[in-house]
């Protein structure tokens, strides 16, 4: 059994990063919090021996991504209306628009763009986390950039 301090430590260290990722994947703050919680629980129950902090971080991201996918799948089949909107989370209006445009992209683009531009991972690191090749990640970044720019321009400029 874990005491609160161990959980707190992980939340303090990775909470924001995981929340960002989950929020961008799920778009609903409450769902994102749930996904973070499930990820942390998985960490305490199933985490392997990590070789270094980067390994740990990558593992958490992979698990969070899969939790989000499971929740997306569940949500598709159990649709609910939510009053929560991204504006409540993102303070600046412009930031909110950018995130909103991002959240409207297909999942694969959202994921790589978030990991690369927000979390600062390199292409090969993202490739390892997502089980894709570097070239596939490069392609998705290029395509994602284009789609994001297009969406942002169409809807907000």
């Amino acid at each position: 059994m874990q005491d609160n301090s161990a959980v707190e430590k992980i939340i303090e260290k990775y909470g924001d990063m995981l929340y960002r990722l989950c929020l961008i994947m799920l778009c609903v703050p409450a769902d994102a919090e749930d996904a973070v919680q499930e990820t942390v629980i998985a960490y305490f129950r199933k985490a392997p021996d990590f070789t270094d902090p980067e390994h740990e971080k990558a593992w958490l991201i992979t698990v969070a991504r899969n939790k989000c996918r499971s929740m997306q799948r569940f949500r598709r089949n159990h649709p609910v209306l939510s009053d929560e909107v991204l504006e409540t989370v993102v303070q600046s209006e412009e930031d909110s628009r950018v995130i909103e445009a991002l959240s409207e992209l297909p999942e694969k683009f959202r994921l790589v763009l978030t990991l690369h531009y927000i979390e600062g991972f390199k292409v090969n690191e993202i490739a390892k986390m997502t089980g894709r090749t570097s070239s596939a990640v490069k392609m998705q970044l290029a395509k994602g950039r284009e789609l994001l720019g297009k969406k942002y321009k169409e809807e907000y400029l």
């Binding site: 919680q37 942390v40 998985a42 199933k46 992979t62 089949n77 392609m139 950039r145």
Partner: protein, 572 residues
């Protein structure tokens, strides 16, 4: 193009609030305490096995709704209207608000009446043993008429039993429930999960329980839009469904006390239809003027080992001589010979670009490699389904499949033994070793990567490999579909032969054009200078071992391929 710094800044502005952190920490601690790391007794949430409704079926689905009557059914197991139920009957809320205005006395009689009146002004559903059922328009009006004119006097008396009649409405935030026992009514209103709760008891001016129970028990609601199936999996066409609804809507019904033919009407003489209501499946068996309804939901929950004897059967008498003959006639004329589920599935599989395989462990959900994808597709295309398999339990592989450009719109199917589940229904297949073959493909036993190497060594095949994925000019970004098509056509039209270069002839550094192509398990960079092509291929074999190969070729009968490609791209 958008400046990516904006994205970076926007993303970094997202933080967990202190309250959220506390919630998460408390949630983690509670859950970790519940089951300190033990997964041996881990049971997947029931929701995972609920029948699912996919986007393509949402278009044709709404609801067939059965209201099961009888005292035995009135043990209340669920108190909330699930999103599934809501999805199954999305219009249930709005359609009755107007009608209710005429059913309720518009003049408020006293505060207590107003409370109940507000309740009745909303859409409401009946809370039944197997989830919630919806009232028909007629039934709602009947219920309102029973309440109309009745006076409510607040009381301290509390006489509800487990079998009291109970109905409620829920608008997503608030829930109101009215329970009736004799001449006592309990009204309970709850706002959200943690909001204020109003709970009041009233004594009515008369005993309305019997009248309400009569409405409940003698109702058989057959709503529109759900596709109907025969037990062998074949589908009734749209016109047939419409005629059947019309047929069922023509008569009135009365709950029958006996279960005719010893509780089983599914003999060769009866006409059986399967239908779905939200998360539940029902089978209607019509024999003469009698309908038997059976909740068959458990059949479709592959991992649910609960005994089928738990299912509730009930029998309804129809006020006609012979419903069965008319129904049989419609079914005979309107049954589609092909199984539409299967046809749609195969069509989607054929058009999808990716599969991913999902396992129960949350961390090993991954995309299939092209090799696995091809292998799985080959198998699926060969399958002939055997309709209506009752599959109860067992290990399975679950796959998502989705279009490349819209991977949010995922569908799924499961394979287990020689069974395949499509759209919540299990089919047996004519491929007895189906699961073993899938397992071999997924485990890599059936993965031979020699074809990649072979394709690399064979120039024509190499180019087909390069060109089978989307590709782009490295220096400039993506090519659009038209540009890619033009370049594909151009490259395919060339003839190549091996080229040998002196060490000084370093084409990689020469000015030219770089194309890049890649799939999930390979990556190819192509450098083109003049008529010379240098390409490198990186791929990972089935054992996860990376490989790298390089080769140079020259295009014959060509002056300057690089310039022509650049011209196609419009940057020459």
């Amino acid at each position: 193009m958008m400046n990516m710094n904006k994205l970076s800044r926007a993303g970094e502005s997202i933080h967990l609030s202190e309250e959220a952190k506390k919630r998460i920490i408390a949630g983690c601690s509670a859950k970790l305490s519940e089951n300190a790391g033990e997964f041996t007794d881990y049971v997947m949430p029931v929701e995972r096995y609920r029948p699912r409704r996919t986007a393509r079926f949402a278009a044709i689905a709404a609801a067939v709704c059965l209201i099961a009557g009888g005292g035995a059914a009135l043990t209340f197991s669920r108190l909330s209207r699930s999103p599934d139920d809501k999805a199954a009957n999305p219009t249930a809320g709005s359609e009755l608000t107007d009608a209710s205005q005429t059913a309720i006395d518009p003049a408020p009689r006293n505060v207590n009446d107003t409370v109940i009146g507000e309740f009745l002004a909303n859409d409401f559903v009946r809370n039944g043993a197997y989830g919630l059922s919806y009232f028909s328009d007629i039934q709602r009006r009947q219920v309102r008429e029973v309440f109309n004119g009745v006076t409510f006097t607040e009381t301290e008396e509390t006489v509800l039993g487990d079998d009291a009649l109970c109905f409620q409405y829920q608008d997503g935030v608030s829930t109101a429930t009215v329970s009736v026992r004799g001449d006592i009514v309990k009204y309970k209103y709850m706002y959200g999960l943690t909001g204020p709760i109003i709970s009041k008891w009233f004594r009515l001016s008369g005993n309305i329980e019997d009248k309400l129970r009569d409405i409940y028990d003698n109702n058989f609601l057959f709503m529109t839009d759900e596709t109907l199936y025969l037990p062998d999996g074949r589908t009734i066409d749209e016109a047939g469904c419409e005629k059947i609804r019309e047929l069922f809507g023509r008569y009135s019904y009365k709950k029958a006390d006996d279960m005719s033919t010893n509780g089983r009407l599914e003999d060769k003489n009866s006409v059986c239809l399967d239908c779905r209501v939200g998360t539940n499946y029902y089978r209607l068996s019509v024999c003469g003027n009698r309908i038997m309804c059976r909740n068959t939901t458990m059949r479709y929950r592959s991992d649910d080992l609960r005994d089928f004897d738990d299912l509730i059967d009930f029998s309804i008498a129809v006020d006609c001589e012979d419903l069965q003959s008319e129904l049989a006639e419609i079914v005979r004329e309107h049954t589609l010979n092909t199984n539409m589920i299967y046809v749609r599935f195969m069509s989607e599989v054929g058009n999808s670009d990716k599969y991913s395989v999902g396992c129960e462990s949350s961390s090993d959900d991954s995309e299939l490699t092209p090799k696995q994808y091809r292998g799985l597709t080959d198998i699926l295309r060969r399958l002939d389904p055997v309709y209506d398999a009752d599959f109860i339990a067992g290990d399975y592989y679950e796959f998502d499949y989705y279009a490349k450009e819209d991977c949010n719109d995922r569908h799924y199917f499961r394979i287990s033994g020689d069974h395949i589940m499509l759209e919540d229904r299990w089919f047996r297949t004519t491929e007895p070793e189906l699961c073993s073959k899938v397992k071999a493909i997924l485990s890599g036993e059936d993965t031979d990567v020699s074809d990649l190497a072979e394709r690399f060594d064979n120039t024509d095949k190499m180019f087909s490999l390069v060109l089978e994925s989307d590709f782009y000019v490295l220096a400039e970004g993506d090519l659009d579909a038209e540009e890619q098509s033009a370049i594909r056509t151009y490259l395919r039209g060339l003839h190549y032969q091996n080229a040998l270069f002196a060490k000084t002839d370093d084409l990689n550094s020469a000015a030219g054009v770089d194309l890049h192509s890649g799939g999930t398990d390979y990556s190819c960079d192509l450098h083109i200078h003049g008529c010379y092509f240098t390409y490198s291929l990186d791929y990972t074999d089935g054992n996860g071992t990376p490989h790298h190969k390089e080769q140079r070729i020259i295009a014959t009968e060509c002056d300057d391929s690089a310039q022509k490609i650049l011209a196609v791209y419009g940057i020459s």
